[in-house]
Symmetry: C2
Subunit: 409 residues, 2 copies
Amino acid sequence: MERAVLRYKNSVISGLIINESNGLITLKASNGYNMTFDRSEVEFIERKKEESPERKSIEAVEKGQGDRKISVLATGGTIASRVDYETGAVSPVSDPELIFGGSDILTRFTVAVKPILNEFSENLKPADWIRIGQAVADESSEADGVVVAHGTDTMAYTSSALAFMFERMRVPVVFVGAQRSSDRPSSDSRENMQAAINFAGTDLGEVGISMHASTSDGHVSLLRSVRSRKMHTSRRDAFESIGIPPLAEYDGSVKFLIDYRRVSDTVEFRPDLDDRVSMIYFHPGLNAGDLENMIAEKHAVVILGTGLGHMAKDLIPVVKKYTADGNYAIMASQCIYGSTDLNVYSTGRELLAAGVIEAGNMVPEVAYVKAMYLLGQYPHDLFRDLFRKNMRGEIVERDLPVEIIKLGR
Amino acid sequence: MERAVLRYKNSVISGLIINESNGLITLKASNGYNMTFDRSEVEFIERKKEESPERKSIEAVEKGQGDRKISVLATGGTIASRVDYETGAVSPVSDPELIFGGSDILTRFTVAVKPILNEFSENLKPADWIRIGQAVADESSEADGVVVAHGTDTMAYTSSALAFMFERMRVPVVFVGAQRSSDRPSSDSRENMQAAINFAGTDLGEVGISMHASTSDGHVSLLRSVRSRKMHTSRRDAFESIGIPPLAEYDGSVKFLIDYRRVSDTVEFRPDLDDRVSMIYFHPGLNAGDLENMIAEKHAVVILGTGLGHMAKDLIPVVKKYTADGNYAIMASQCIYGSTDLNVYSTGRELLAAGVIEAGNMVPEVAYVKAMYLLGQYPHDLFRDLFRKNMRGEIVERDLPVEIIKLGR
């Protein structure tokens, strides 16, 4: 990495060079913002190489005088990082006094921060979900609530995996992330974390996600993990609860908005997952050979089909053979909103005849995680029924097409 | 297909059996609605097999007294279908008097309906896009506007492909679909089609999509094809213009809402596409071997990464080798909203170093179509620059992160 001091018009600007291409140069200034200049319009006053930034591990630390103890498990990601603009190093933030200073958190709670991983979330594998789940299980016998600080990129996947693996929960489990690192003037990490501690102080017996409710400060939502999806690359309210309202909101106090599962008196963590499951995005050029390559050696596949859950008819024989061989093909929709319905058109009925299981209104990523969980934990002859059973709130019951009259259930 | 007459409580109900599973039976009644019953609570009065429904071709027909001629090209899909509940047959609707009766369309326009395909849109391939484009090009030398009736599932893909293939347009090209077939009481097909004819009567020199603006009747949006995405499986306002307002709205008259390209005095249709491009949905269990299988023999790949455009670091060497071999790797985001930005985190910078091209705020499906177009029509050494160039309004210029100061461009 290089640091530069440059002149642009009448200003002298210094910062880390974070990109230089196509005749443009981008500096990260000491206020945390990026500035891009036309390369031909700036004059370099100084320019020197620096050591690459390192990701340092954080130390375990416990602070606060409250009776209730919340464990914060740090896994990496933006929420745990702080860029030191003098050295370029990325330092995780672990001191609760820095995070909670000025709030009443440390008088109401005792907060113990423990590092368990230090990884951007796009690098986490199903094996890491089990590792995080085990750490949460260990903490839940001691603490009154567990918060998991996690990168936002795959937070919906990891938190859903924990939701399935925890058959019973003794304490709330709240994932929290940030879209801007805590050194940025516009950081959302403090508010999201303070809300997460408060959510973790309730009787929630589910795995939730604590993120900004809007682009402004002041309101943080608690989302049901198995209905959540990161729907914006950069906005602070990037996470959305698809098809249901948030579980709760925090604006100084916690208000639950919909019914939720309460904590149990014991914890039951079942860590088995079968990671031989893949996700496939149907697109018009996808041919039978491509599909065969993509599903070879996988025990299940979640297909993101078009519309109500369709794919080209020439691919259906591949799916039929795949399911006949004892594998599972699940049809979700790339529309994201709404529900699959394979009974409306002939393509859908042919897919059902080929053995396809509908994701219904399950979020595609959640269908993927659920398939890994079911294959890892249950006899395979139960897969089909359990997949369509609402186990953790992952299926929205009232989102069924209004014209279907539900009788006797 | 079977037709049943059954008794449920005190009612006798008849209809086509469209599903029977898990102890439930669903009938499509003659009013077009589905009804689901608990199998154990109904008594069959009659039940008999019927011939499978057929998709009949429609006849070319021209009607109307208007000076301006609009060609409607039918390709299949819900908008062109009508289920005959007596025979179970799916009949396309082609008579303009049925579609436009009661409106002033046939006094203001002469409408010629021509069948060019009869296919659900999930079955269309890039070769069909060229066929549709050629038919549109042929019509544009004769007609004053062209409407393409198309299944909604892949309408965003097809219409975007035409947007790229038409270097110049002499007349407006408006795609139109429906979420409910025209026999359904709640059908949106009539309104969408009437609006499409009106949009096709303007000076629009772009490819647009005419679909309901909300779940209620009365407002139909014209969306820019290269910013459109089907975002709901079943709602009538399923299509959304991502990151920009609709081009226009119709509520009895056409009102343009944003700036648009005007028609040219000539038509230039360039039909080449390279269909060896694939779309890959990154997910935590995706390993290097899977990725290699998916991209082998493809000239370009659009990866739907997480967040700002990330994937696991163990996959980056696969991408690096792939681009070093002369192929193109494009990074989009599975978040759908927002923009990729590979300069923020080290994962992104490593992806850039591996030769990845950012989709920016391009809709992933549009990035996929654009890659096929560029590979088919331009020397490969221009790919990278043209991919980042805004050719048809597929890139939203003002969606750049607000903190980036744009200078000199």
